[in-house]
Amino acid sequence: MIAAELLRFRSRRLVKWMTIFAALGIAFSGFLVFINSRAEGPGALSDDAIRETPIYEDCASGNFGDPPPGAGTLEEFCLDIARQNSFIEDKRFQASEMEGIIMGMTVPLAMLALFLGASFVGAEWQKGTMTTTLTWENRRWVIFGAKALAVIAGTVALFVLLQGFLALVLLPSALFRGTTEGIDATWWKDTAVTFARCAAVTAIAGVVGMSLASLGRNTAAALGIAFGYMVVLENLIRALKPQWQQWLVVDNVGAFVTDDTSPFPGMLHSAASAGVLVLAYSVAMAAIAYGFFRTRDVT
C-alpha cells in the first residue's frame, strides 16, 4: 500500500510542476545573489582609499596615540584601525548565512507541503478514487497510514531536493564572489540540526494538510481552513488573549525552526518544547481525521 501511495505521490503532475516552478525560482534567486555578490568588504578596500577616510587622518595626526608594541609603524597601525572601523557594506555572499536561508526557505516549502498534502487526499475524494482504493484495501488505518507516510516521505524528499538545489545554485556565489568564512565543524553541526528541524516542520505541514483534506474531503476547504486559522484566528487570539500566545501554532513553529523563543513574547517553554507541541498538534489532527475516516460512510 505504501509503495502504491508513493508511486501516486511522485507521479502527480502537481508535484512535478510545483517542483519545477520552485526550482526555477531558486535558480533565479541564485542568479540574483551571484550578480549582487561583490568583493567590497573592508578587506577589499585599497590602502589609498583607506587613507582618505577621516578616521585614518585622525589617527595619522597622532590623535590615537603611538602604535602599541607589535602594531608596526604609525601608518600600518592607522591603516589597520581605519580598515576595522570603515563601515562599508559588505556585499559579498556569506556562505555561513546558509542556516538562516534554510530557515527562510522553510516557510514557502511548508506552505507547499501543506498544499500538496491537502491535494493528495482532497483529489482522491473529489475524483472518487477513494472508493476504488477501498475496494482493494478495506483496512482504513492502512490506507490512512500509507497516505500519511507517502506525504511525509514525499514532502521531506522535496524539501531535501529543493534545499539541496538552493545550496548548489548559491555555491558559485560563495566560492567566486563571496566568502566561505565561518564555515567550520560547529557551523556544519548547527546547520544540520536546523535542516532537520525545518524538514520536520515541512513534513508536519504536509500531514496537517492531508488531515484537513481528509476531514473535509476537499482540497479547497482544507486550504481555506488552514489559512483562515493561521491568518485570522491566530491573530485574533494574539490580540484578544495574549496569554494564550505561547500555545499558538505559528509562534511555536517559529520558535522551533529558529531554535529561539525570544521573538515570541509570552512563550514560557523552550524551543524544543515548541517542536514537541507542534508535533502533538499534528498528531492530534491526524488522529481526529483518521477517526472520521474510519467511521464515516464512503458514498
Binding site: K127, T135, W136
Partner: protein, 305 residues
Amino acid sequence: MSVIEVRGLRKDYRRLRGGKTVALSGLDLDVPAGGVYGFLGPNGSGKTTTVRCLLGLISPTGGEMRLLGADPRSDLRKVIARVGAIVETPAMFPGFSARRNLEILARIEDIEKTRIDEVLETVDLRDRAKDRVKNYSLGMKQRLGIAAALLKDPELLILDEPANGLDPAGIKEVRELLRRLGGEGKTVFISSHILSEVRQTCDHVAILARGRCVAEGAVADVLSSQRAAGITARVGDLPAALTTLEGAGIEARIEDDALKVALPPLEGARVTKILADAGLYVSELRPDEVDLETVFLELTGEPES
C-alpha cells in the same frame, strides 16, 4: 453455495433537517456461485447502497451479510483480494495514464506487470494505455474500470452499471466478456437498471424496489412466475367466449382479435374445457410471452413510459 448472502439488510440515512431516508428496508439476497447474476432495479431502489454495504464502504443500519463466506463488517480483509468491483462510475486518476492507474492498484496486491497487459488486452485498451484517462471517452473509462476490477483475477466480480456509457459495440463486447467470465466459473454480479442488458447477460436475477427484493431466481423462473404471464386464446365468437369465461369467474378481455385470459399458462387446459363445454372451440391457445420489462414494471410499480 452462495457467494453473496444478505438477510434483512437495512440502511437508513439521517436527513439534515430531521427524519430519515430508508435506502434498504430488509433486503434478502442469495447469489449462487458461478454465472452472471443481475441485480435489477430502478434508480434509487438501493442497488448501489447494497453494493457499498457489501464492500464495506458504508455501514448498514441492520441485517446480516456474507461475502464469499465472510462478514464484510469484520472479515472483509480475508476476501477482498478475491473480489473485483466497480461502484457507480469507475473512478480513476484522470491525470494519469490507464497503465499508471493500474500500476498503482497492482502495487497494493503485488500483482505482476504482465497481468496489467493482460487486462488491458482483455478490454481492448492496450493501444491507448499510455494516454491520460481524462482524454478517454466514457466508454473507455468504463472499460478501464472493468480492467481494474479484473486485475486481481477475482472469483467474484461486482459491477455497478457496467454498460454505462458504452456504445452498442462496446455493450456487446462487455456482455460477451461477462458471459465468458461467468462461464469460466467466476461469479459476476451486475447491478443495472437496463433490462435488456440483464435479460441478455444474466442467468439469475433479483429485482429490487424501494429497498427490498421483490423477485429473485433464474431469469426464466422470474418471468413465468409473475401475474403478467397470461394466456392468449383465439376463438370464433369472442364476445360469447368472454361472457363464458367471466361467468366461470375468470378475468379476461378482448384485445387484438384475441382473448387475453388472466390465468397462468399452466391453466390453459381449464380454459379450453370451459369454452368447449359452451360450444366454443379454441383455434389457438398460447402462453403470453412476458418480457422482463413487463415483470420489472409490474414488480417495481414503475409507470410505463
